[in-house]
């Protein structure tokens, strides 16, 4: 089994790239691969807890919680996140907060990196 490092930068609402990354991460984890996800840029807005799923908008919390239960490592860029007004106690439990070197460390051990840059 391999290790997949995902870097996700587009925002949860307004870009289907984010939704794509959730499904890919779940599929890879289901096949037994180790998966890590790094959120930076607008994607970091997705780590806030207590999201309400309105059907015209993508939602992340329930999927992130499921990914964490599958053993997927998820980390948000602390600077990007607090710049968007979200403080650590407001975050989804289990999501790590760290600096950009977390992503580089994940890349170091990854067999494949899929970096989904911002738009």
């Amino acid at each position: 089994m391999g290790k997949l490092a995902l870097g996700v930068y587009p925002g949860l609402v307004g870009s289907a790239c984010y939704d794509f990354s959730l499904k890919l991460a779940a599929a890879a984890a289901d096949k037994g691969h180790k998966v890590s996800i790094w959120y930076s840029g607008n994607a970091t807005g997705s780590v806030k807890a207590h999201q309400k799923h309105l059907k015209d908008y993508s939602t992340a919390e329930k999927y992130l919680t499921a990914l964490l239960e599958k053993g997927v490592e998820i980390c948000t860029c602390e600077a990007c996140t607090i710049a968007r007004g979200i403080q650590k106690p407001e975050g989804i439990p289990g999501v790590q907060w760290n600096s950009m070197h977390w992503y580089l460390a994940a890349i170091h051990s990854a067999d494949r990196v899929l970096h989904i840059g911002g738009e």
């Binding site: 607008n42 580089l104 990196v113």
Partner: protein
């Protein structure tokens, strides 16, 4: 696993979006990644600007004065200061009519490294030599 080389390819212009800026700040993080790795393990990004990614690299930027944000020029200079390889595509500079002389250096900060204006073939080589290729 020793050193892992990565090619960071910036293909979008600076300022309107955030992604091209994040390429530089993520590249700078190579300095501190060792705290999360084993002894002797490193990650080495090569920062490459291609296509419209070559826009917004000129010296004399006043982003802090105009919008209160760190300029791309400042980030580039910091990248040079920490000895990152920074490549700018020669063909794309020529296509947009941007003289090489407008690109910044970081001599005033004591950096020895300089931006290298290179043919795309050299950037292709950086991608080939990298274990991972990331487009910003």
């Amino acid at each position: 696993m020793g050193d892992v080389k990565c090619a960071f390819i910036v293909q979008r212009p600076q300022y309107k979006g955030e992604t091209s800026r994040l390429a530089m700040t993520h590249a700078l993080a190579y300095q501190t990644v060792e705290i999360l790795l084993e002894d002797g393990e490193t990650v080495t990004p090569t920062l490459c600007f291609v296509g419209e990614g070559v826009l917004g690299l000129s010296k004399g930027q006043k982003a802090m004065e105009m919008y209160g944000i760190t300029s791309s020029e400042s980030h580039i200079k910091n990248c040079l200061l920490v000895d990152l390889d920074v490549f700018v595509c020669k063909e794309d500079l020529e296509k947009f009519g941007i003289p090489e002389s407008t690109l910044p250096d970081a001599e005033d900060m004591g950096a020895e490294k300089q931006i290298r204006v290179v043919p795309f073939a050299e950037i292709q080589k950086a991608m080939e030599e990298a274990k991972h290729v990331l487009f910003f």
